[in-house]
């Protein structure tokens, strides 16, 4: 974050992402069957086909926001009648399509033959993908993932598996390609290995001071979205973890004088990563962990790695459908968060109330109270929007964060 020189892992990430987008465009141009998916859709199944590629509008939107063109893209959608109250990812994606992706850093995504939404981390993504379904006249497959208040039940796992198989049949029918189980299984294995390495990396945040900052972790999540099921996951996260270990030794740390160890709850504020991390670092504060990064590779109720027995890949990916973005009940999220706060030795929590994401934000007010009561640590709520900078006020947010740090200080004195 604060370092001027781009890290090894950072360079590798840029290389991977550029190559990923280039491959995607190239293969699609040569006639690959292209699917657009919601982030939780198990993309490993596409690897089971010879020539199926996928794009992730949410990830593309986050990238636009990170590159500072979120507002520009949102306004294009608003000018065609989309309400400002809609999710900013959706507005960016819809706005981007109004002018042939002319402002997109990746030239957008290749035109899809099919869209697949998943209603668990957000039911509205189905409404959003319906926009594409109507505009481009392509089929829309909705993965219906029952919301969990308790750990996933067997009946729901079976229900999800049956839908995954329905989706495979649909792609076979539409693309004329045959699904190959072995290739799919291999892809699932690659993702699983990627999760293992990711967890090894996040574990390093236990160190004091921490070599890990959520601002970097947020960005490094991208391959989990766009390069799922590939061996680069393991390779990349190995580099990331190795570099973090080196940094402990050399003292090249994100916040050198780490006075406050904070935890972040919600999607990353993509348009603020640079500014926010710099300002926090000047205050001696490091966001060492986040529910958004911790949930990868885990299941509801705990942020510890969910260990796959490496048997049935269908069962595993169905089991992981409540992973990305932790879309499950308040009790389960509370239990996950409790574990990681304890483990990382957190001094305070920032609940980022995100106008663009009700699934993540509703229950945060209860969660804030519970966490403060249970741990006796302060927690603040700030208003953010993950991709629309117009709905964020830096002064307003930092006034609260400042107060949070002061509370931590006064608790220490006592």
């Amino acid at each position: 974050m604060s370092e001027k020189v781009k890290s090894m892992a950072g360079k590798n990430l840029s290389k991977l992402m550029i190559k990923g987008y280039m491959d995607l465009h190239e293969k699609a141009a040569k006639g690959a069957f292209c699917v657009w998916i919601a982030i939780n859709v198990p993309a490993e199944i596409f690897a089971g086909f010879d020539n199926v590629v996928y794009g992730v509008p949410e990830s593309h939107a986050a990238m636009c926001a990170g590159k500072g063109i979120g507002v520009l893209q949102c306004e294009k959608a608003e000018n065609t009648g989309y309400s400002q109250d809609l999710c900013s990812y959706a507005r960016i994606d819809i706005g981007n399509l109004t002018d042939g992706s002319k402002d997109s850093p990746s030239f957008g995504l290749p035109k899809p033959d099919l869209v697949v939404s998943n209603n668990n981390n957000c039911a509205l993504i189905s409404k959003w993908f319906d926009v594409h379904h109507r505009e481009m006249d392509i089929p829309h497959f909705i993965m219906d993932i029952p919301f969990c208040y308790e750990p996933q039940k067997q009946k729901n796992q079976s229900y999800i598996i049956s839908q995954i198989k329905d989706l495979i049949s649909l792609i076979e029918k539409l693309s004329g390609q045959k699904f190959n189980f072995d290739k799919f299984e291999k892809a699932v294995f690659h993702s699983w290995e990627g999760f293992c390495e990711w967890k090894n990396f996040l574990e390093l945040a236990k160190e004091k001071p921490s070599p890990v900052t959520a601002f970097d972790s947020f960005v490094h999540m991208a391959p989990f979205l766009t390069l799922r099921g590939t061996p680069v996951l393991k390779e990349h996260f190995k580099i990331l973890a190795e570099e973090a270990r080196q940094n402990i030794k050399t003292g090249n740390l994100p916040v050198k004088k780490e006075k406050y160890r904070l935890f972040w709850d919600n999607i990353a504020p993509w348009h603020q990563l640079g500014k926010m991390s710099k300002r926090l670092s000047q205050m001696g504060a490091n966001i060492v962990g986040a529910s958004y990064t911790s949930c990868m590779g885990t299941v509801e109720g705990s942020f510890e790695l969910y260990k796959w027995d490496e048997k049935d890949p269908f069962e595993y990916i169905a089991r992981m459908m409540n992973s990305y973005m932790c879309p499950h009940g308040m009790e389960l999220r509370y239990s996950s968060m409790k574990g990681v706060i304890e483990k990382l030795g957190i001094d305070g929590v920032i609940f980022a109330s995100n106008r663009s994401c009700k699934p993540y934000s509703i229950t945060q007010m209860d969660q804030q109270k519970r966490i403060s009561d249970y741990f006796g640590i302060p927690a603040v709520m700030i208003d953010v929007d993950h991709a629309d900078a117009r709905k964020y006020s830096e002064e307003n947010a930092f006034m609260r964060i400042g107060a949070l740090l002061e509370t931590i200080d006064s608790k220490r004195k006592n």
Partner: protein, 397 residues
């Protein structure tokens, strides 16, 4: 139905079926009355709970649609929900967490939307803190596209598990015969609502009185509601003004009653509606059967399409334009619910198509703050009326 009677006479008479002095019935009073007569009441989160099933098992379902008049402020809800949650969720939470919530014998929720799916745990945990023991039943209503996946078995299992939970909690037994009877009563009720709707479309009943009756039915038994509807229908009279501008209203909830009154006073005839708490609820009755699993598989697949039932997107658009053509309307009024993104994702498409077809429309939005002061809504409605009539009479200066 003493309550309705008393209110009608106190209003000092009826004009064309329209209650002159408007007073929205309080949900609290209605539930209180049910409780006094010894009924058990299950408070249901909107939008489409399995009401027939509850009724057949001795629980009067109260669908908690419109509690604006029942909550004075949102002080309890504000402890749990951010201000960008919709008014339906915030007002419902306020009601349930207040003393009024004690009246419920049980609560019910399903995965209606991203906000409503999170409310059950907020309610349960707040109730637990307040040492209040009200069971909350929950089911998942499948959202898969029917052309790719068949969810009927899943629905049947969910309904089955719901029945078992109710049986266990209330020490009661499900009866196929009672379910058949209840489903028949609800079917009759929906048919009567449709009969009344036709009278509204002919100008023989006001949309205002229609809404009042239908909405108050969400906190009443089917039997009571059937009586109310008979009364409403008997008030139909020949329209005073024959030629009015025909419109349909679309949205999650109908506009507040004073706004409906304004719409009608501005010379609009509400030929039909595409409203979740109205047409999308009463627009379809499944074939009566003694098997609730099959009944609900049918209902959720074939109901009058709603934007919140994700698999009905295409059907919803088609149903919307079918309504417009069947009713030969002059315009459309959208009654948007602030922060209900479901509607707002489809709106630009409907807007574009309406423009293409040359059908004027007006976009109104209602939120938590719209309780009393509707001046700016009135201006928009009047301007819309002027706009439509100016097209007929050309200005010459």
């Amino acid at each position: 139905m003493d309550f309705v009677k008393a209110e009608l006479s106190a209003d000092g008479g009826l004009d064309n079926g329209k209650v002159i002095l408007m007073k929205e019935k309080s949900v609290e009073n209605q539930i209180e009355k049910l409780k006094k007569s010894g009924e058990k009441v299950i408070g249901c989160f909107p939008l489409y709970p399995p009401v027939e099933l509850f009724a057949s098992m001795g629980l009067v379902p109260a669908v908690l649609w419109n509690l604006k008049k029942d909550v004075e402020n949102l002080s309890l809800s504000d402890l749990h929900l951010q201000s960008y949650a919709c008014s339906i969720a915030r007002e419902m939470l306020e009601f349930i967490l207040s003393d009024k919530g004690d009246m419920f014998d049980a609560l019910f929720a399903y995965n209606a939307c991203d906000t409503l799916r999170n409310l059950p745990e907020i309610v349960v945990s707040a109730n637990k803190k307040a040492k209040r023991d009200i069971p909350l039943f929950n089911i998942h209503i499948p959202q898969v596209n029917r052309q790719f996946s068949d969810p009927s078995q899943y629905i049947e299992n969910e309904i089955d598990s719901l029945i078992k939970k109710i049986e266990a909690h209330f020490d009661t037994a499900f009866s196929e015969d009672t379910f058949t009877e209840t489903a028949t009563a609800y079917s009759l009720m929906r048919n009567l609502i449709q009969e009344a709707e036709i009278l509204v479309s002919k100008g023989k009943l006001s949309f205002l009185s229609f809404c009042e009756t239908v909405l108050s039915g969400y906190t009443a038994s089917a039997k009571e509601q059937i009586d109310n509807l008979h009364k409403l229908i008997s008030k139909a009279s020949d329209p005073v003004i024959k030629r009015k501008k025909k419109i349909i209203i679309s949205g999650i909830m109908p506009p507040p009653l004073p706004v409906i009154e304004k719409i009608e006073d501005s010379g609009f005839l509400i030929a039909s509606n595409d409203i979740a708490s109205l047409k999308r609820t009463y627009g379809y009755s499944p074939a009566v059967t003694d098997n609730p699993g099959k009944y609900y598989a049918d209902l959720y697949e074939n109901s009058f399409p709603c934007t919140t039932l994700l698999y009905q997107g295409d059907k919803r658009i088609k149903a919307f334009f079918d309504l417009i053509y069947l009713s030969e309307v002059d315009g459309v009024i959208f009654a948007g619910e602030k922060f209900c993104e479901y509607e707002y994702f489809e709106f630009p498409y409907l807007e574009k198509e309406l423009k293409k077809r040359g059908i004027p429309y007006l976009n109104l939005e209602f939120g938590t703050d719209d309780r009393e002061n509707f001046e700016s809504h009135f201006t928009r409605i009047e301007a819309f009326a002027e706009m439509i009539s100016m097209h007929a009479v050309k200005t010459n200066f």
